[in-house]
């Protein structure tokens, strides 16, 4: 039986801003709109997506600050790296939400509760935020479990079947349009269980084919697979017997030490998302900095990145005692590497896409052409259309 965990940090962007030293109630804005807000602003009715001026009028104690995307990305990457230590598959859904493969973790950690605790502890080492973890048989149920768990415990494991767990939850948790929710309310259907009891054909007729996904999820039949990959990182460690003061030899030494790693990346057809540099100064201080690469890494590019990173190191009279370079977020160089199985992969992906299309839209909308009778005189007898089987 598959077990999926949802890791969720409520108000992630606001939490990152708070971690960066912004005090008080916060409205994180992008342009003129609210992108995220501190949990306390929910009481006066601040909503994500509304105009910042309107939100400030509603909550005058709050302070509007612009979103720091780089900081959020850095923090989220570090959290994903921490999650990857406890699960073979981590899918990055969006900032603040990730799905993990939790299958077999009870055996490894003693129980799912212990595993959830270990995951939260690991993330706690990276960032001091209140994370919530929900474990269930499907993604949607895991998400609802993560959202509805007690903030004190911070985790919830669903033991019963997903459908039974979801039944008493409010129907508003489902990804339905506002109009669909209004009509459900008029019909007196207020729980996911009530919505799940409706026949699928009636749901499609009343709310359109888009609602069929939500209906399946409500019945505990959310079969969306996890699409994450194992997160890997490569490290290069350099220790200097005599602390290095000059930047140029330091840069050359780092480049020379990274040659093997570059070769490994090239051979594996991998791109790097982030390079982190951690230097220990002879005075005992630690200095950390990271840069985004987001693509294939060659010698020239690595030189430019390291030069940029070292530029911020500044003058230190004691010099650098050791350096650790971390190549994080390794992923395939999409479309650039030779993939012998590309054709088979494409076919499998297409089958999956068509299956989803047929499920979402009615089968008659997705068809294949076929030759019925090649010698028929009339064209209408010669060719035909047949439904794609889901």
């Amino acid at each position: 039986m598959s077990r999926i965990a949802c890791f969720w940090i409520p108000h992630f962007i606001a939490e990152v801003a708070r971690e960066s030293g912004e005090p008080g109630l916060l409205l994180v804005t992008e342009g003129k709109r609210v992108m995220d807000a501190s949990a306390e602003t929910a009481a006066p009715g601040v909503r994500v997506g509304e105009l910042a001026s309107r939100a400030l009028a509603r909550c005058p104690d709050a302070r509007a600050i612009p979103v720091d995307r780089v900081r959020c990305l850095e923090m989220w990457e570090q959290i994903l790296d921490a999650l990857a230590l406890h699960s073979p598959v981590v899918e990055d859904a969006r900032w603040g939400t990730a799905y993990l493969d939790a299958g077999g973790m009870a055996g490894l950690y003693g129980s799912e509760t212990a595993w959830c605790g270990a995951v939260r502890e690991e993330v706690g080492l990276v960032v001091q935020v209140k994370a919530q973890v929900g474990v269930a048989g499907s993604r949607f149920a895991a998400w609802v479990a993560a959202k509805s768990c007690e903030p004190e415990t911070g985790h919830q494991e669903v033991e019963q079947p997903d459908r039974a767990f979801l039944a008493p939850c409010p129907v508003g948790e489902l990804p339905l349009s506002e109009e669909a929710l209004r009509r459900l309310s008029l019909l007196g259907i207020r729980t996911i269980g009530g919505f799940a009891r409706l026949p699928a054909t009636s749901v499609a007729e009343q709310f359109g084919p888009d609602a069929l996904d939500a209906h399946r999820w409500a019945r505990g039949a959310d079969n969306r697979p996890l699409s994450g990959q194992r997160r890997e990182a490569l490290e290069v460690q350099l220790d200097f017997e005599v602390p290095e003061i000059a930047r140029e030899p330091l840069l050359e030494a780092m480049l020379a030490a990274s040659q093997g790693t570059l070769g490994r990346l090239d051979k594996g057809g991998l791109a790097v998302r982030r390079i982190a540099l951690e230097a220990r100064l002879a005075g005992g201080e630690r200095w950390e900095r990271a840069a985004w690469v987001g693509g294939a890494l060659g010698k020239a590019k690595l030189h430019a990145v390291l030069e940029g990173l070292l530029a911020g190191l500044g003058g230190d009279e004691h010099g650098v005692a050791s350096v650790c370079l971390k190549f994080a977020g390794l992923e395939s160089r999409t479309g650039k590497q030779l993939n012998l199985f590309a054709h088979a992969e494409g076919r499998t992906r297409l089958q999956e896409t068509l299956r989803r299309l047929v499920q979402k839209h009615s089968p008659g909308c997705v068809v294949r052409a076929c030759v019925r009778s090649p010698d028929a005189l009339l064209l209408r007898d010669r060719y035909g259309l047949e439904d794609v089987e889901p």
């Binding site: 985004w292 940029g308 076919r347 297409l350 299309l357 997705v366 294949r368 076929c370 064209l379």
Partner: protein, 252 residues
């Protein structure tokens, strides 16, 4: 002296941006991967391939083929699908008016085993299905048949969809071809957002029918490049579409 200082300032600015956003965020044109242009799909008409500058329709981009009835745009789209199939791609035909001619596709050489046909209820449904297909992956080339007189809400939905699809196509190197049928050669539907989002736009104008002993054996058409991001625009060429022995052939 001033030039050296300016150049140094520029280098500094570039390194500051690269430090913050990564080296891929800013670079000079000679370092760029995009300098060589995108890969292309041959159209089956040598003259048209030559006009486009990169040897065919750009992959990873949107292309629009515009013309009134029987001007050759559907034939060119079908030929591109055949070429895509030759490269091992799966292809799709979004049949909005439910008028797909299977005999025509077969005569253009398209194999049915790797062709999927979408038959949406209406234009909005067609956009939703195409969106699902593009995001799901697995399809290399899609022909959207066709865009004609749209209501204002259809235009705005298309605008939003095109805005989203360009990056998706760019990542997957998929090709999306829109067929736009006009009432006459000069009448392009007003307000359509395609001219802004398409990387290549070709206009088709039928010139004359080809006869053999009073039997129509094909037609010639003038193809003009209305927009081209990878080569010069404004050029045109004549193509011939012939029906010979039941096989629809171009001047390949």
């Amino acid at each position: 002296m001033a030039r050296t200082r300016r150049s140094r300032q520029l280098q500094h600015t570039i390194s500051v941006i690269q430090q913050r956003w990564g080296p891929a965020a800013i670079r000079t044109a000679n370092e760029s991967d995009a300098a060589s242009g995108p890969p292309a799909l041959r159209t089956g008409f040598r003259a048209v391939d030559g006009l486009l500058g990169i040897g065919g329709l750009p992959r990873g981009r949107i292309t629009e083929l515009i013309g009134s009835g029987t001007a050759g745009q559907a034939t060119l789209a079908a030929k591109v699908l055949r070429e895509a199939q030759r490269l091992g791609q799966q292809v799709a035909w979004v049949d909005v008016p439910h008028t797909v001619d299977l005999d025509f596709l077969a005569r253009c050489g398209i194999g049915f085993e790797s062709l999927t046909i979408l038959r949406p209820w209406d234009f909005a449904h067609a956009l939703t299905m195409t969106d699902d297909l593009l995001r799901g992956g697995g399809i290399g080339t899609i022909v959207f048949d066709r865009i004609s007189d749209l209501l204002p809400d259809g235009v705005s939905a298309l605008d939003v969809a095109l805005r989203d699809w360009n990056p998706v196509l760019n990542r997957s190197l998929g090709t999306l071809i829109f067929l736009t049928e006009t009432q006459s050669d000069d009448a392009y539907p007003a307000g359509l957002p395609l001219p802004f989002f398409a990387s290549a736009r070709l206009g088709f104008q039928r010139q004359e029918w080809l006869y053999r002993r009073r039997r129509v054996t094909g037609f010639t058409s003038k193809v003009a490049v209305l927009k081209n991001k990878f080569g010069p625009s404004g050029q045109s060429a004549l193509i011939q579409v012939k029906y010979t022995n039941g096989i629809l052939s171009g001047d390949e």
